[in-house]
């Protein structure tokens, strides 16, 4: 089964600084031969240690970076062979939510204007005001907040606004990079529930990057484990985490602190 957004045999390497012009440059292999797919109406997770290549993978999926080898396919078309019209269409169909909503929203802009930005920059012709009101309601906020500035909101509210902005252009793929790790526990649950509802209601393809295994297990139906630039395991989250096969997954699972173990006095074993 093919996905709406797909990586096929993607490899990426960065050139490291040379110490002298007489030495051949060395490369850092960040991704090696990665296959990955996001499907409509499905939430997929991506987990891995820092430095495993998660961010590079999201940058390649969003078209911010061109992989050295391999293909990025959106709806079957290669992202890097698209013409300007197709490229614009791709950008309209993609929403991105970042980890820290405070740095992803312009502090000098009322949030209503921030929400309009995607429509303006991608030249989408529709009733902008109606669309803003519709989307802000979709993320569970009142339209009265639109005139307010980012500093007036809490982290959880800002993340809702950031999600609203990602939804403005009616994307079919949503990429969320650590969307709840900067939020408090009680708020984290609200945002996760919202993301899951959106996947069902809007038939979105969601890619959720997170380091918290329980967050991924809770919100996604399929998860891939990335280690040192390679996808080492893919599967149904609970199954994968209860019977990890690869060393990388085992390490990730072993690092999880659980309440039960903590209360039994074995939390750090």
């Amino acid at each position: 089964m093919t996905g709406i957004l797909e990586l096929r045999g993607v490899s990426q390497a960065y050139r490291l600084g040379r110490r002298s012009p007489f030495v051949t440059a060395s490369y850092l292999q960040v991704l090696s031969n990665v296959d990955f797919a996001v499907r409509t109406g499905q939430a997929v997770g991506l987990v891995g240690e820092s430095g495993a290549g998660k961010t590079t993978m999201t940058r390649i999926l969003t078209g911010l970076e061109r992989p050295q080898t391999g293909q990025v396919l959106f709806d079957g078309k290669d992202l890097w062979e698209m013409n300007a019209v197709e490229r614009l269409e791709f950008r309209r169909n993609l929403g991105v939510v970042m980890q820290n909503p405070r740095s992803s929203l312009d502090p000098r802009m009322p949030v209503g204007s921030s929400l309009l930005e995607p429509l303006r920059s991608l030249g989408i012709d529709c009733d902008h005001v109606a669309r803003v009101n519709e989307v802000i309601e979709q993320v569970g906020m009142a339209s009265s907040v639109l005139g307010r500035y980012p500093h007036e909101f809490s982290g959880g509210q800002l993340q809702r606004i950031a999600i609203a902005r990602a939804l403005m252009t009616r994307p079919i793929v949503l990429i969320a990079d650590e969307p709840v790790s900067a939020l408090d526990v009680s708020i984290q649950a609200q945002v996760l529930n919202l993301l899951m509802d959106l996947v069902t209601d809007l038939n979105l393809a969601l890619m959720l990057v997170a380091h918290d295994l329980s967050v991924v297990a809770y919100a996604t139906s399929r998860v891939s484990v990335l280690a040192a630039g390679e996808i080492v395991e893919t599967g149904q989250p609970l199954e994968l985490f209860s019977r990890p096969k690869s060393k990388a997954t085992q390490d990730l699972v072993a690092a999880v602190l659980t309440m039960e173990a903590g209360l039994a006095g074995r939390g750090l074993d």
Binding site: S214, Y218, L268
Partner: protein, 321 residues
């Protein structure tokens, strides 16, 4: 009071009309480990900074902070400065901003040891190396010559802990010490901290919103909401039989591998609403607008603290649960 490492009585921290901490009392016995839990904006970091005498300009305290036989809230800046790092020290969330970027980490720890003891340079260096070894840092001698940017996040945080422990303080305050770290590193750093404070009999105040960390490392826990402690007690009791609706909500909204249904149909119970801004706190119980059990009494009267609980209608869980 000599049997407690820290005894906070009726602490208020405010800036003008804004009261961020409103009457907090707790006590940490010598060698005890207390966890302080709460959402951002609940006043937990300001409580810690008040204890360290490091409040930002404009903030002032009321109440008593008894430590090492003195009331820290009445001490002068120079008295506090001589105390910080020696009897009380703090590990901050982000080691990259807490360490001086233009000085080698060796200099930072050795100067601290020399400031608070009469050790010479060679002796202080040896002590620093021993500390680094205890923190499981590889190649201590080389590590001393490194600048903070050359180290990984986990190494930097281990160095912060080494610096905090260097002068055998009575109390270490750790404010979200592992939040900025990778999960795989988090457990190792916590284990190092756990062993180090246990060996030395140092008391620990662990500030975090991560409940499993508290369960793993602390004996007692205090849950803060909007500047007050709403529930406190032994970790095992509070976490297995929460009495305050807020504690209950926090525990239930934490995703764990056990409360997830296989078909993806599970919903995390979340606490509705958000933490109220300090300017317009509700009269009565501050949690009342978000509480599903709130009654008229909650809207009018602030609940008193009885047996570590501040709620008019505590939850009673069945013995079986």
């Amino acid at each position: 009071m000599t049997d407690s490492a820290m005894d906070v009585r009726d602490l208020f921290v405010g800036n003008g009309d804004l009261q961020a901490v409103r009457g907090v009392s707790f006590s940490i016995p010598v060698g005890g480990r207390m966890g302080l839990v709460g959402e951002s904006g609940s006043g937990k970091t300001l409580t810690a900074l008040a204890m360290m005498g490091l409040l930002p300009v404009g903030w002032s305290t009321e109440g008593r902070i008894l430590h090492d036989g003195v009331d820290l809230s009445c001490q002068s800046d120079s008295q506090l400065s001589r105390r910080r790092g020696r009897t009380i020290s703090m590990v901050f969330q982000d080691p990259l901003t807490a360490l001086d970027p233009v000085r080698r980490v060796g200099h930072q720890i050795i100067s601290l040891i020399r400031r608070h003891s009469d050790a010479g340079k060679a002796e202080a260096t040896e002590q620093a190396k021993a500390l680094f070894r205890q923190m499981n840092l590889p190649r201590p001698a080389q590590m001393l010559r490194a600048y903070p940017h050359q180290l990984s996040g986990g190494q930097r945080q281990r160095i912060m802990i080494a610096i905090a422990l260097a002068c055998y303080p009575q109390l270490i305050i750790a404010d979200e010490p592992t939040t900025a770290l990778d999960t795989t590193v988090q457990k190792q750093v916590l284990r190092t901290l756990d062993v180090a404070v246990r060996e030395r009999g140092t008391a620990l105040l662990m500030i975090t919103h991560n409940l499993p960390i508290i369960a793993a490392i602390c004996d007692t826990v205090a849950v803060m909401y909007a500047g007050r402690i709403v529930e406190a007690g032994p970790v095992a009791e509070v976490f297995s039989k929460p009495r305050h609706p807020y504690t209950m909500g926090l525990l239930r909204s934490q995703p764990t591998m056990d409360n997830i249904a296989l078909d993806g149909s599970s919903r995390l119970p979340s606490i509705r609403g958000t933490v109220p801004p300090l300017q317009d706190l509700a009269i009565g119980c501050a949690f009342q607008p978000r509480c599903e059990f709130a009654t008229d009494k909650c809207r009018l009267e602030t609940p008193k603290v009885i047996e570590g609980l501040s709620c008019w209608h505590p939850i009673v869980l069945d013995a079986e649960e």
